[in-house]
Amino acid sequence: MAAIDDRQPAGSAATPPGTLSRRQLLRRAGALGGAAVFGGALASLLAACGGGTTASPTTSTSAGGSTSTTTIGGASTPAAAGAATPSGAASSSTATTAGGPIQRGGTMTWAYTAPPMKLDPVWTQALVDGTVLSQIVDALGRANKDGSAIEPALAQKWDVSADGLTYTYHLRPSVKFHDGSTMTADDVVASLNRNKTMGSYMWQLQEAQSIDKVDDQTVKVTLTTKVASFVARMATISNGIFPASQIQQTGKNEFTNPIGTGPFKLKEWVRNDHLTLDKNPNYWDNAPDGQPYPYLDEIIIKQVAEDTTQVLQVQAGQLNGGSAPYSQVATLKTDGRGQIAIFPQQQVYFMVVQVTKPPFDDVKVRQALSLALDRKALVDRVTAGTAQIANSFFPKGTLDWDPTLSLPFDVNQAKQLISQSKYASNAPTAKLQFPSGSTVGHDNAVLVQQMWQQVGINTTLEQVESSTLAANWYKGDFESISGYQWTNGMADPDQLVEFFFVTPRMNSGYQPSQQASDLATQAAQELDPNKRQQDYFQIQQTYNQDVGGTISLYYTVSVNYLSKNVRDFYRSPLGQPWWWTTWLAK
């Protein structure tokens, strides 16, 4: 870049080169000062407008999960109660009030930070993919509203044989796929076989030795051993029912244009930009007014990478729904520009520790490190008070979650345990890693570092790029990691227990006793709900005592930010938005 030109125009009064005349000095100072003031004003303006830090924990779905009493928490914003109706006051719930006579029609636009990437339920893990698929695809059963039981969906009823090895599903008649064809047992058999033979959910049917069509409306599955979660597995979208013709055409490839029986059908998908769902006029499930669900005509799902931008877009009227950073929740609840809707989820935010590496290799140290954590402070400072303290590796509300357990906060006992451990005087420094792009991960890590410091354990923090961290975690090549949460994807704990307790135990090197492992295997096959509950209670207790490979921190909620005209939005504890019961007030 050329240098500033200081040469005088020919003929003017000369000052020595390299010096400034008084007038020039004053002029330059003025300009510089002006620029500085301008810059300062801009900076303070930004600070004032400054939003919160983005606080979206890295989520991953999994299978598992069950009940919770869905107390839909959170205040309602004053503005939302606005629309025409009196009854709003009754719900102590979110602003999606039972706001009067339901109006059909309209297009709802919703944003996700990550775009839907795979619309094939046997190949995808992503929450957003699951969300879209659950609008397009149905399974034999579906989780009820609070996730406590499985209710009929594409199967009207099912029978289990006395020995627990044969499940007979009686299909709902006259259900139409989006392409107009009628669902029969052939489609069910083809869909289940597909899940059994390819993808990431083959484990769901690994005990199935045969899947047979009995007649056009009946399918029979025969298992080699008892599977307590089988009915719950048949209610997940990986066992969603697709037309046999589509399955045959697609072969080994992934579905890119899935045809299902769900309340919405896929109209258009421009990758990484937007996805449009159209109402399915022939949906099998009727709304209270006698017409089929859904109420909406169309849903557009957009990618908006920053949740701070999503908030701005909802307020500007470009979006009907998105997420909001925790730090903005309090302000957004009251500023009247939109509605905050919070739903408890079967999710647990946890840390992983590598139990073979010092100082985590001594169980007393691990117990101490868990006791040193003030989980209430974490909840207040990281999630703006929205989450709930964890007491188990089971998310709250999961079937057979033990409410009597606790993960207490006791600094003195922690210090005592450390003094009794093998690292009493010379504890090595611990390394704590968290993924990039996650403010919650970062904030947690910083607070944990401080809390562990209190009991004499020094920790170094390291922010690692998320795919790199995932790879290291997978190999077990880490000391401790924070920034991840587990979400139940199924109304049953058996996958949860499988991953945390049986294998791979979060790659933490944790080894429960043989007896405890056997208990887990037994519980997975236990059809008597009471016995099963006892087994799982025992497992949770053991896990807390051993401080198995993970330390549970808190149970996170789903924070949704909606435009003022959205009504009756509901997100189930298993993370699925019930968009077929949502409507827009005009």
Binding site: A2, A35, M117, E306
Partner: protein, 312 residues
């Protein structure tokens, strides 16, 4: 040499550059830790699921075989298929490139609209307060980070004043002009700042040159001298800088696309790197490289048109 021969020569020279870039990208994206299968499976990754997924993605083949596939596909004009979204990379390019190009071009136009009047004013009113203010603005423009300015503009003009939409794109080209204005402006400010300084200096030195003195001596009016003799000649060095900055803008558009939620190539490149979608990263990088090289070629050609003294 004639223009055509020059162009062909330059195009041929691009090939080794692109080849080296292709190899480097292929190796680098695989050298960094993390792989698509583990990333896709996340917390759910177990050895058997990972093996299934790797096989499904074609990632389990030995490295030379993968490279061979990459090269042979390239020879057929095929950039492979995205591992994550399962559609051809070339399709993704066709979907996304127009927006990125449009954004960059729009940014350049705005930059010129800001630059030319400001630098002419600064040069003509040299050392007055106008000149100082303009130069103060350029310092600010050079030193503030683009994404910061972008977010600020979003808040002020998008939310508070509701003059412009908060990110996203419209449904027609005309609407897009409205939607892309803020992101283009954000990119333009940084470039305009540098170009203004450069053009101002070029104008000042041209003003002092002999042919301008001759024009003045001939008695031509100030404005005529300015337009016909000064600006045209000063633009030469600016055109070169413009070309360089177009190349820079192409790279800088990646972050801006993210901030403003624009469905261009940049935002997809970022997400593909994070997801370790090898095919998309390779394909998009090559496309960006071709873009930048073609821009440099066009810049040199433009240079030869603007300055008759230049022979290629």
């Amino acid at each position: 040499m004639g223009r055509t021969a020059y162009i062909i020569n330059r195009l041929v020279q691009m090939i080794p550059t692109l080849a080296i870039l292709g190899v480097l990208t292929f190796l680098m994206i695989r050298a960094i830790p993390g792989d698509p299968a583990v990333t896709l499976l996340g917390v759910q990754a177990t050895p058997d699921k990972v093996a299934q997924m790797r096989s499904h993605l074609g990632e389990d083949k030995p490295l030379p075989v993968q490279f061979g596939i990459f090269v042979s596909q390239l020879a057929h004009g095929d950039l492979g298929r995205s591992m994550v979204v399962q559609i051809p990379v070339l399709t993704l390019v066709k979907q996304r490139l127009p927006l990125t190009l449009g954004l960059v071009a729009f940014a350049m136009v705005i930059a010129l609209v800001i630059t030319i009047p400001l630098s002419v004013l600064a040069a003509v009113k040299r050392d007055t307060w106008i000149d100082q203010a303009i130069r103060g603005f350029t310092v600010l423009g050079i030193s503030t980070p683009g994404f910061w300015v972008g977010i600020l503009l979003l808040i002020l003009l998008g939310v508070r004043l509701r003059v412009f939409p908060v990110g996203g794109v419209g449904t027609s080209p005309l609407q897009d002009v409205y939607y892309l204005f803020l992101p283009a402006l954000t990119m333009a400010l940084g470039v305009a700042a540098v170009l203004t300084r450069n053009l101002r200096d070029a104008l000042l030195s041209t003003m002092r040159s002999e042919h301008v003195n001759v024009a003045r001596a001939k008695g031509l009016r100030g404005r005529v001298v300015l337009m016909r003799h000064v600006v045209r000649n000063a633009l030469i060095s600016t055109v070169t800088l413009l070309g360089l900055y177009l190349g820079w803008l192409v790279g800088g558009s990646v972050i801006i696309e993210s901030v403003f939620a624009l469905p261009g190539m940049g935002s997809m490149l970022i997400s593909s790197i994070m997801a370790r979608d090898y095919q998309v990263v390779q394909g998009f990088t090559l496309v960006y490289a071709v873009l930048v090289l073609v821009i440099y070629l066009l810049t040199d050609l433009a240079y030869s048109f603007v300055d008759p003294r230049i022979t290629l």
